[in-house]
Amino acid sequence: MKVLSIGWFLAFVLVVSSCTKEDFHSELYEINTQDIEKDIRDIQEKLITHQEGWILEYIPFEDMDTVYIKMKFVDKEAYTYQVNREEYFEEQESSYGLAGEFVPEIYFEEQSIWGALKQEFHAASKFNILQDGDQILFRRSDGFDGKKFRLYPLTPEKENLFKAVVNREKDRIERDRHLIEAQEENRQKLKKVAEIKQVYFKNLSLAAQALAAFEIDTNTHTIDLTWVDNGKVKNGKAEYEITPWSAKFVSPISINGVSIDSLILGEYDEQENTLSLLDGDGADIGFMGLDNKPGAVYPTANEYLFRLNEPTYKMRWQYVLADDEDGVGPDLTEEHEKILNIGMSFGGYNIFVNNQPNGHNRYGFTVTMDGKAHYMWYENIDEQPDKSLLISQSNSVPESSLGNGNFNNLPADQKQKTKDVYEKLFAGGVFVVPNGRASNGKQSVRIINKNNPNIYLTFKWIPNASFPEPNDFID
């Protein structure tokens, strides 16, 4: 019986061993012979025993430059690394581990370059390690994509490559630092121009020709430009961005045929309050800043205000305190304040145009006190080639007072105060600039001293039965 059993057993073993190999093998069913723990051990050993180290050429994010990560695996937990990125040029220590259920996985401590890349570029800190022949490949194991990155054994060639990319990155950082400084310099230059106190005659001048008056708003990054084109005043706003090389306009702006897409900023002249403008070769081609003429000369403003060629057209212009706080230029304020403090009730400044068709009292400039006007008579207003006006006081009747006893009784030094406003305003000539609409909806104009545009006085046309209203406006 025992022999029989042994016989059956031997027969069974023989059959099973012979049939298994021949009958049950199928190409359709591959036997998984993978020993993941051995794979992990092997890769661990490979990483550590290559003492020169490794270099991973990693692109965490599409379109991003390659990040070169040089690593030396010290033991099963520690490794050192260097990267061609700022803050990681020098060798640093960190930890890692190997795991995996199907494919070996390496995971890195995130208080390191890996965490930084993860935070900045949604990169990974753990990777499947794949082997393709002799090549070792990293593939992020969080499923984000299937891209593979090669881990190269560090050779002298790779070491040189690493040094080169580190130096290149250092150069880039230095260049960026320089560009940031240059950008900041440009920002400060433009800020200085924007903060010039003078109200008028801040000009953009190219090729010795005033192209436009400008105002800069450094908060909204806009330059407001005003110029005259074919007798019409034009206005345009250019949005700009500060670059290390220029103030670059978002959209080019064209001024009388000159197209400007950027302003290359030169040196700021503290004495002249001007910022030189350069061409692409660094040559001086103009400036932004203070000038002694309006950036936009308003061709019809003189005639509109003073009716120089219409001696019978009578007009009256007026400034009153309520007009606006900017009505008196900042450098004329002191004189204006003195009039207010004379001790009489101030009514306003008035200009009477064509009071007489000719003669010493053709133009009257007055100060109204206690309801009565004190007159200063002027005979001539001469238009100069630069469109400025020379206004000369009549010598025959330099001044008169009409029924203002209080004023006549003032001491001479007090009377002089009323004259000071106009004398300061007219000294050396004036420009007339349209000023839009006054609060009464009528035309407003400014008379601006030619030599100091912070000296100006603002007038509006006032309705009056004795003076016909102009049919048009100037802007």
């Binding site: 029989l4 021949e22 199928s26 994010f61 949604h122 194991s141 499923g143 994509d145 299937g146």
Partner: protein, 281 residues
């Protein structure tokens, strides 16, 4: 001697039986060579290599009910769908927590349908489906042809469908938590339709939304996709409304935690990805 003869005879008989098998129809090796000449197929191959999951996009009516209507996905939309929706939003939301999760649990077939699936007859007559799961081996997602990566609503609904169908697959694979089905026992829609209930009424009965009242399986899957689609604070507010909700929530969280997954982390991951979508392009 007699015994020895018997042994030899036995061996002879068995040897003959083995020999007989050599006469069977010869095995012909199938032609498995594949030509991959476009990025879509390349990505499908890559997904297969990584997750052992076959992406099926070629039309075959057998995958849906014979009475249902649907259209196949447009080929040019498959790559962005797989890359962004499946890979970068769905798979990585799990594998960023547990690297091997999808390798173990992503069903072996992922079926893509272009339109939604309109069921005309039978139990689901008049119903338009955005997805389906077949046991633990296949999940189907519909509506691929509406792909618009700038449409957050579409993106969210697609990812939600994938979570929902995966929940079905996990349900089949591991089984719902013990006694989960008892929590709302007697409160399912049964003979009536879930459409007869508002979501508020459903929640009073312990369901995330009315659709979950269809049956225990949909209850589980819709509760899961509800948690995944909702910020944690809001989830806690919802489940604390009654004991039924709280109980199911805890069971589901434990179920996923045992698989190495925190469902709230999935919500945070996807929300973050959609907020800063630079990396999804």
């Amino acid at each position: 001697m007699k015994k020895c003869c018997f042994l030899l005879m036995s061996i002879g008989v068995l040897a003959l039986s083995c020999k007989k098998s050599e006469d069977k129809i010869p095995y012909e090796e199938p032609n498995l060579s594949q030509v991959i000449d476009n990025e879509t197929d390349s990505l499908i191959k890559d997904l297969y290599d990584r997750y052992q999951t076959k992406v099926i996009y070629k039309w075959d009516q057998r995958y849906i009910s014979t009475s249902a209507q649907a259209t196949p996905p447009r080929f040019e939309l498959i790559y962005p769908y797989l890359d962004i929706v499946v890979q970068k939003l769905f798979i990585s939301s799990y594998d960023s927590q547990n690297s091997d999760f999808m390798r173990k649990n992503l069903p072996i077939q992922l079926l893509l349908i272009g339109s939604r699936v309109d069921y005309n007859n039978g139990e689901e007559g008049g119903f338009s489906g955005s997805g389906a799961a077949a046991q633990f081996s296949r999940i189907m997602v519909a509506g691929i042809n509406e792909l618009n990566l700038n449409n957050r609503s579409w993106l969210n609904s697609q990812v939600a469908t994938l979570h929902h169908e995966l929940a079905h697959a996990l349900d089949k694979k591991y089984g719902r938590p013990l006694s989960y089905d008892d929590v709302s026992k007697g409160l399912y829609a049964i003979s009536s339709s879930f459409r007869d209930f508002t979501n508020a009424e459903a929640r009073e009965r312990g369901f995330w939304r009315a659709y979950g009242m269809t049956n225990e399986s949909e209850d589980f899957a819709s509760f899961v996709d509800g948690i995944v689609q909702t910020p944690k604070e809001e989830v806690l507010e919802i489940i604390n409304a009654n004991e039924l909700m709280k109980t199911k929530y805890q069971m589901i969280m434990n179920f996923y935690n045992a698989l190495g997954i925190d469902l709230h982390e999935i919500n945070a991951y996807i929300s973050s990805a959609l907020e800063n979508d630079t990396y999804l392009k």
